[in-house]
């Protein structure tokens, strides 16, 4: 009866699993003799794996780990509880309980040995083997009834714990291999073979350990990653497409080097700034005036005077910005001094003043911010230049290029960038007679300072003379235009002279360019100074003239009002046509016109120079070369190089003119925007069509902070005269938004007084108090001093750190050098030890690979960890190598 029960239990066990194993085991011991047990144990232990595998397959939806844990803890508890239950059922089981426990221990010991063996050749085990054993077992179920199940279960516990862990590890390994197969640098054939192997393995054993759910998730992850990459790429493309002229500039850069491209980048930046200024002025001043201001012809300042009306529409007049253009919203004089205009009650005079101030404010802010950002970038990638050439060599070719033209550009750009780096390298390697070079540099500087002083004196002299000329009558053409002639002659001859002198210095071309820029800048300052001086004279003249006219108009108005007072109608306006009203000279408009004229003539001169000096010359050289006595292309005229310094300075001075003039001629910024736009296309075309690259293509400094510095200086210089006129000259009495006020800034005070509550006016008056301003300025100066000192300290620390890093790198190199020798010795050692290890266990090739791979990893980590001790190791390097050598010789 007991036997029957046990058989039934066995059957149940096969179906349900190990949960009932404990129960079976406890009552089985007594009925079987030990020999039979021994005979069947082997089979059973093997069967255990099998059966457990079967059952797992059935219930593989449960997590394998949960099951394992359960198994580890379950038996003990179950045994105790189920023993109790058996006491109830089978009375004979009780007495044998203690014995059973002791026996179990013995068996486990024996089984563990077998387990090890099994583990070793588990992979070789085939299904056939198992099936045979299965059959055997099925043939004699009676034999293997209770006792077998006992041993079965006891073996199974130990087996499944160790074995399954191992299995699980291997399956995980294979799975990992499958998922990283694509990352392996193997041939496809090998990959496919290994993949098949791994998949087969996983499929075979995965059932035993639950199915992997990773694959789907992995594919999903990969898909998302791909989508993300694609999105990022598209977005980047979109971003570059949004940058105006990026492709044009890249093309120029690839043929002419980054120095020429830096000019175009600067031009583009300038265009952006001007666009913002244009928006400010047009949006807040010109458009409101056109939409809501009093229309043309209603008041004297908005009408062309009677005397000029006949010719006001002639092109020659318009070209000089007289006539209708002079009396338009493009100039200061057109604006009315009404406090508010239109139904919006727009405070135009106030807006005019604030826009004038904010043009300068915005420009200052933008220039300084971009300088600061450039400086940041400069310090940011300080030590990235250890691999300049390597990176150029191995990463500069873009494998995406699939079109011959782009490929040509890329070849050109790689060549230029190599040349740039070579120039840098040659410069840093140059070491000749340093004393001679120093002497030459000092000499060159002295010469150039002499030149500058001479030209400065010449300008001063000419300006003085022109002032005396202007007082004289009937002077000739030369005397009248002497200043301009001298200035343009200086501008023509001095830059090449400076360049020849600079050849003495033998600077790196990049630094040379900076010197050249600085010197020409100093020369051009004279230009600016004379222009401003002439303008101030003009303004003073106009101011005196104005006083006279003001008196006349006052007198006429007064007489009119007197007469009208007699007629008892004081309010009606004078019946004179606005065109006939006597009016002042309006010096502000004169200044504005002066600046506009200058800008336009500058544009024309620049374009004509490019057309004649570059394009015509290129055409001449190219086509006349067929029938000329010498080689024009290689010989004298040759093709022109792109004049970076001249162009940059032209741009900077032009911008200075814009800043100075924009207050008196709001339309000037519009002209400048057009100019920058056209010159971008025109100059790009001219460079690509008719210029040749510089003889020594040099790399522009990453930040064009030097250009920015010059721009800042010009901005400051142009701020001064404007601030002076606003603060200290009285505005014209009959034109412009500030007419009738004593000073232009009165408009602010007026607004504060009338439109703000009283206490704000009070606060304003306190803030404007010099007692508050002077301490504030003092504080700022102190802050600047402090920050400067901190910055210097950081810079110092930075250079120190860089030095240290360089030293460390060198040491590392040396150390590696030594280590290469030692590691070879270590490899020999490994080889001598290897054969014995191989004979013990012979894993399959794939696993070997993985193991080797894993072996390598910790080694590498170790080597990384050792690096901090370089110094010490370097000191001991020689001794260790010799020691290691000794070791290898002895052990080998």
């Amino acid at each position: 009866m007991g036997r029957k029960k046990k058989c039934a239990l066995q059957v149940i066990m096969e179906d349900v699993g190990m949960e009932i194993d404990g129960q079976v085991e406890s009552d089985s011991e007594s009925e079987e003799d030990e020999e039979g047990e021994k005979a069947t144990r082997k089979q059973h232990s093997k069967e255990a794996i099998k059966s457990s595998g079967h059952e797992r397959k059935k219930q593989n939806k449960n997590g394998e780990e949960a099951e394992l844990e359960e198994k580890a803890e379950a038996p003990r508890q179950k045994r105790t509880t189920k023993k109790k239950s058996h006491k109830m059922n089978d009375s004979d089981g009780e007495s044998e309980a203690g014995e059973a426990a002791s026996r179990k221990k013995k068996r486990e010991k024996k089984a563990s040995g077998k387990d090890q063996k099994e583990a070793e050749n588990k992979e070789k085990q085939t299904n056939k083997n198992r099936k045979e054993q299965d059959k055997k077992q099925k043939k004699n179920p009676a034999e293997s009834s209770s006792s077998s199940s006992a041993s079965n279960s006891s073996d199974e516990e130990s087996l499944s714990e160790e074995e399954l862990m191992r299995l699980k590890e291997q399956v995980e390994e294979k799975k990992k291999l499958i998922s990283t197969m694509r990352n392996k640098p193997w041939r496809m054939v090998k990959k496919l073979a290994l993949l098949r192997e791994a998949q087969a393995f996983v499929e075979q054993f995965e059932g035993a350990l639950g199915k992997g759910k990773g694959k789907k998730f992995y594919t999903y992850k990969m898909m998302m990653a791909k989508k993300w990459v694609k999105f990022k790429r598209d977005f980047d493309n979109f971003k570059t497409q949004c940058i105006p002229w990026e492709m044009k500039i890249k093309e120029v850069e690839s043929h002419f080097g980054s120095s020429v491209a830096s000019y175009f980048i600067f031009l583009r930046w300038m265009y952006g700034v001007n666009l913002v200024l244009f928006g400010l002025i047009f949006g807040l001043v010109i458009i409101p005036e056109i939409l809501m201001g009093i229309p043309y012809g209603s008041i004297p300042r908005k009408t062309v005077p009677r005397a000029e009306q006949a010719t006001a529409m002639d092109f020659s007049v318009l070209w000089d910005f007289e006539g209708y253009i002079k009396y338009s919203a493009l100039f200061y004089g057109y604006y009315n001094n009404q406090r508010t205009i239109g139904w919006l009650k727009y405070r135009l005079p106030m807006a005019y003043f604030m826009v004038g101030v904010s043009v300068f404010g915005y420009s200052l802010m933008v220039v300084i911010r971009s300088m600061a950002r450039n400086a940041n970038e400069n310090t940011g990638d300080g030590d990235d230049n250890n691999f300049t050439f390597s990176w150029k060599m191995f990463t500069s070719w873009d494998y995406l290029i699939g079109n011959p033209e782009t490929a040509d550009n890329k070849f050109a750009s790689i060549t230029t960038s190599f040349k740039e780096s070579i120039v840098d390298e040659q410069e840093s390697n140059k070491d000749e007679n340093i004393h001679l070079r120093r002497f030459l540099r000092v000499l060159a500087n002295v010469l150039i300072i002499c030149c500058l002083c001479g030209s400065g004196y010449l300008i001063y002299f000419v300006v003085k003379r022109s002032q005396t000329f202007s007082k004289m009558q009937n002077i000739g053409w030369y005397e009248r235009n002497e200043v301009e002639i001298v200035m343009s002659l200086l501008g023509m001859f001095c830059p090449p002279l400076f360049e020849t002198i600079a050849a003495l210095e033998e600077y790196h071309p990049r630094i040379g360019l900076k010197w050249q820029l600085g010197r020409i800048f100093a020369l051009f300052l004279g230009n600016l100074y004379t222009f401003l001086l002439a303008l101030m004279d003009d303004v003073n003249e106009k101011l005196t003239e104005e006083v006279v006219i003001k008196n006349i108009t006052h007198w006429t108005l007064l007489s009119y009002y007197n007469s009208s007072a007699m007629n008892d109608s004081a309010v009606i306006p004078p019946p004179i046509d606005p065109a006939d009203m006597p009016r002042g000279p309006c010096w502000e408009t004169t200044v504005g016109i002066e600046f506009v004229r200058l800008t336009v003539s500058d544009i024309l001169v620049t374009y004509v120079t490019i057309l004649v000096g570059d394009f015509m010359r290129a055409c001449f050289v190219r086509f006349v070369n067929y029938c000329w006595c010498w080689d024009l292309e290689a010989g004298f005229p040759s093709y022109a190089e792109f004049d970076i310094s001249g162009n940059v300075l032209g741009l900077i001075f032009n911008q200075g003119m814009i800043w100075m003039g924009s207050f008196y001629a709001p339309g000037l910024v519009g002209i400048n925007v057009l100019r920058l736009l056209t010159s971008m296309y025109f100059q790009c075309w001219a460079v690509m069509s008719s210029n040749v690259p510089h003889e020594r293509v040099f790399k522009a400094s990453k930040s064009n902070n030097f250009y920015m510095g010059l721009l800042l200086l010009i901005l400051f210089l142009s701020l001064l005269p404007v601030a002076y006129t606003i603060m200290s000259l009285p505005p014209s009495f009959d034109c412009g938004p500030f007419s009738g006020k004593k000073r232009m800034y009165d408009v602010i005070q007026e607004t504060i007084k009338q439109d703000f509550p009283l206490f704000i006016a009070k606060i304003f008056s306190y803030v404007a108090n010099p007692g508050l301003i002077i301490p504030a300025v003092l504080l700022m100066v102190l802050a600047i001093y402090y920050l400067n000192a901190v910055a210097e300290a950081y810079q110092h620390a930075n250079t120190e750190l860089k030095k240290k890093m360089q030293m460390q790198r060198d040491e590392e190199k040396n150390k590696r050098n030594n280590k290469a020798m030692t590691s070879s010795a270590m490899q020999d050692l490994d080889h001598s030890l290897d054969p014995s290890a191989k004979s013990v266990s012979q894993p399959k090739p794939a696993e070997e690979q993985i193991r080797l791979y894993q072996k390598k990893q910790p080694c590498r980590e170790r080597s990384k960890k050792q690096q901090p001790h370089q110094l010490w190791e370097r000191r001991n390097a020689c001794t260790t190598t010799t020691l290691c050598d000794d070791n290898t010789t002895t052990k080998a």
Binding site: M181, R182, R187, M188, L192, D398, L400, F411, S421, K813
Partner: protein, 227 residues
């Protein structure tokens, strides 16, 4: 040598030209059909078995679609050589001249090296497996280490597992189309070795190369081909 190559290429193209358009269209049609019947599991089996496709997916960075697309690209190179079914794993190799004339490769100065490195015979004649391998490594998703490994092989012209000075010179000359003078080239090569050689043996090993290339900011963005 180069001239010969070009002539050969011309002849090759010419001989295929008559047949190519129709076949190309056919291939495209099939491709379109595939696109249409993607969900219905229609035509796919004619080229690869699902197991093959899965295996390729596991071994490359491509999706099903992309693998099929690459197959058609491969087939378009020589429609009469490549069969429309790969179930029986036919042993087909396309000569380098055809591989090198692909739009993605024909402007690349290193195209011959790429083909040589990825082909099994080392001479640039590629099977479909090699072809997939090549574009998988050069795809966007491939990790840096894998790319670096193959980049090293590509720049190692003489296959001695070191990038020595002659390899570097070849690289520079290919990159600049021989525009630099010999002195400049040798200066560049010396500088490269000086920068990247960690163990001072005068040539770059794989470790040197990887150490250098993992720090390169735009290696990943330049060393890939979109297909």
């Amino acid at each position: 040598m180069l001239k010969e190559e070009r002539e050969f290429l011309a002849v090759f193209n010419f001989s295929y030209l008559n047949i190519q358009p129709s076949c190309k269209d056919k291939g495209k049609e099939q491709w379109d059909k595939n696109q249409d019947s993607e969900t219905e599991m229609g035509n796919k089996q004619t080229i690869f078995t699902p197991e093959q496709l899965d295996a390729y997916q596991d071994c490359t960075f491509f999706t099903r679609k992309e693998i099929l697309r690459l197959f058609y690209r491969y087939r378009d190179l020589a429609p009469q050589l490549v069969p429309l079914s790969y179930i029986n794993k036919p042993d087909v190799k396309l000569p380098y001249e055809l591989i090198g004339s692909m739009a993605e490769l024909k402007d690349n100065p290193f195209r011959q090296r790429i083909a040589e490195v990825f082909s099994e015979d080392g001479e640039g004649n590629m099977t479909l497996d090699d072809f997939l391998d090549m574009f998988s490594v050069l795809s966007e998703m491939a990790p840096r280490d894998l790319k670096a490994y193959y980049a090293f092989k590509i720049y190692d012209f003489n296959n001695d597992d070191y990038i020595c000075k002659s390899d570097l010179e070849k690289t520079v000359n290919k990159l600049t189309r021989n525009e630099l003078t010999p002195e400049e080239v040798s200066l560049v090569c010396d500088k490269v070795i000086d920068e990247a050689d960690q163990d001072n043996d005068g040539k770059l090993s794989v470790e040197d190369f990887q150490h250098m290339i993992v720090r390169a900011p735009d290696f990943l963005s330049t060393f890939h081909i979109r297909i």
